[in-house]
Each structure stands twice: as structure tokens, then as C-alpha cells.
Amino acid sequence: MTSRTTLPSPGSSAAELGEARREIENLVCGMPGGDPDQMGFQHPWEIRAFAMAVAAHQELKFDWSEFQKALIASIQDWQTANPDAGESPWSYYQHWVAALEAVLADAGLLSRTEVDLQTQELLALPPNRNHHEAHTEPIAVDLARTVHV
């Protein structure tokens, strides 16, 4: 696996990506809710969470079934707590995050308390700093050059 340089490089060919993708799909097709059609991402954090679980599995060599079990447990807990499932908001990837935290906590790699703390710190930062202002003019213009024939 080639490491990724910052700007696009010919490093990852479509074939390589296709291969990596098949590996991942083999992992996820056994998951609850693992129907690739249902796994569509709606928010950027979801894809990060998804990627982190797969990367953690690959780097830490934990058994994928552990993650699977944790995901099932999280979904079951939620269903028990929300018997009226039709009416409660549901987020598949929130369970995905909960399962990842559970696996990592079991492995002694982090504690929920630490995650809580760090999350609070991030939330306390102003979002995007001053990037809420609309910029209505181009920030750079490279004028056309006169072409001398």
C-alpha cells in the first residue's frame, strides 16, 4: 500500500482502489445494516468513523468479529431503550462510533471519559474560527496573458 502524498499523485490507480474496496466490502457485508445500499454516507463524520474502524482493524489486528459484536450490542441496546423505534431518530453511524469506542476501550487504548473530555474541548472552539463570513469576491485572480503569435 503506497502512502498518500498531499496532492493527487498517480500513486493509487483505479485498480488498486477497486481491490482495497473489495476487501472492505468483504468486511462490511456481514455487518448488521451492512447492505452497501444502506451504508451511504450523509455526513462527512460518518465516512471518517467508517474509515477509522476499518483502519483500526487493519493496524491493530483486532478481530473484525469483535467490532461486529460491539455494533450489534449498541444497536440492540438502543432498540431496547427505544421500543418505539419508528419514531426515534436513528443514526447507523452513531452506533458505529459507539462500537469503535467500545472495542478500543476494551483493548485499553482509550477511555470514554477521555473521549468525552476531548470532545468537550473541541466543541468549545469556535466553529471554523472566522470562516462563517461569506467571501463574495475571488481571493485570487490570475489575469489572462496576452498571447503573442
Partner: protein, 200 residues
């Protein structure tokens, strides 16, 4: 174990916290995560943006509405979503080529273009594209904007997200939207690449 439903903001921060903790501990690296994201980054979105572009190429009235108010025109096609609000479409012309960037973070019109590619978030792209746009396009993206064309770089913020309406390629007269659709690439809507080649 409880997975109480959190707001999007809370959960996004939690995922970010998790990621930075794991990287700090050396459990995993950013490239390992980016690599996974790369595989899926085309999953959501670019097709939606392509649909909008193909329609604008075939329907002059729609194109006028799109340029007037992209958010509203996209809603006509059922494309929207919270972060898609205040989208502005920049039309490429014979004389002007537009490129988008977010100089501070990674503001991106993701309901239309999907998740931003990794390089879009990279400080190197963010800084270089506004300094030497023509050169960056040529050297990093292998995309040459003719010297006779002005290059404008637009900074997306969370209040106003830009994206690019590329020019309809020559040789596509009389093509249907369905035929035009595959020509619209994600990079052409960011402004860092061409539309697809028309086979003659």
C-alpha cells in the same frame, strides 16, 4: 453501552476527538484513515453535481436559474441538505476559469460534490492555489488553463459555498442529458480538472 443520539455537531466533534487521540497514541496514522476515505469519497455526491451540470448544459432557463440562485435551482432537482445552503455556482466561460478552495478549513458543497477529496483539505493546496493558481493547476493537477483565460480562485466559507459550472464541451451538440452526464467530472466542478473527453 449507550449510543444516545447526539447532535451532528456533537458527534462530528466526538469522531474528530477519537481520531486525534488515536493518532496521538500512534495507534493509527492519518494516511491510513485517509486511504479508506479516498476509497469512498466518490460515493456520495459527484453524481448529483453532474446531474445539475448536465441539465444546465441542456436547458438554458435552468442554467439561468442556477446561476441566479444555485441553492434554489438545486432544490428543484431535490438536491439540498443543511450544508448545501447558500451555494453559488461559478460559470466558466471562454475568458474565465474558476477554481474553488477553502483557505481555512474544508468548506465544500458536499450535497452536490460529495465529500471533499483529501487534497482539498491539505494546507499545501489551500495555500498554493491562491498564490499561484495557474501553476498549481498545471503542476499538481496536470491541467493547463490556456494563457488567454483568466483564472479566478474563490474561497468557500460555511456561509457561502462555491462550485464550478464547467463549459459544455464542443462536439456534444444534440446530446441528451443522459449522454452528457458521464462527461462531468468531480474535478471539473472544483475547477482543477477538465470535463470528460468527447470521443469522436
Amino acid at each position: 453501552m449507550s449510543a444516545k443520539i447526539r447532535t451532528q455537531e456533537e458527534i462530528a466533534a466526538r469522531v474528530k476527538a477519537l481520531e486525534s487521540m488515536l493518532i496521538e497514541q500512534g495507534v493509527m496514522t492519518t494516511p491510513a484513515i485517509d486511504r479508506m476515505v479516498e476509497i469512498y469519497e466518490n460515493e456520495v455526491g459527484p453524481q448529483l453535481g453532474a446531474k445539475v451540470v448536465a441539465k444546465a448544459w441542456s436547458d438554458a432557463d435552468f442554467k439561468a436559474r442556477l446561476i441566479e440562485d444555485a441553492t434554489e435551482a438545486c432544490q428543484e432537482l431535490g438536491i439540498g441538505g443543511l450544508q448545501g445552503e447558500d451555494m453559488v455556482v461559478l460559470e466558466n466561460t471562454e475568458g474565465v476559469h474558476n477554481v474553488i478552495v477553502c483557505t481555512l478549513c474544508s468548506c465544500y458543497p458536499w450535497p452536490v460534490l460529495g465529500l471533499p477529496p483529501n487534497w482539498y483539505k491539505d494546507p499545501q493546496y489551500r495555500a498554493a492555489i491562491s498564490r499561484e493558481p495557474r501553476q498549481v493547476l498545471r503542476e499538481s493537477f496536470n491541467f493547463t488553463v490556456p494563457d488567454g483565460v483568466e483564472v479566478r480562485v474563490w474561497d468557500s466559507s460555511s456561509e457561502m459555498r462555491y462550485w464550478v459550472l464547467p463549459q459544455r464541451p464542443a462536439g456534444t451538440e444534440g446530446w441528451t442529458e443522459e449522454q452528457l452526464l458521464p462527461l462531468v467530472t468531480r474535478d471539473s466542478m472544483i475547477g482543477v480538472g477538465p470535463v470528460g473527453v468527447v470521443a469522436s
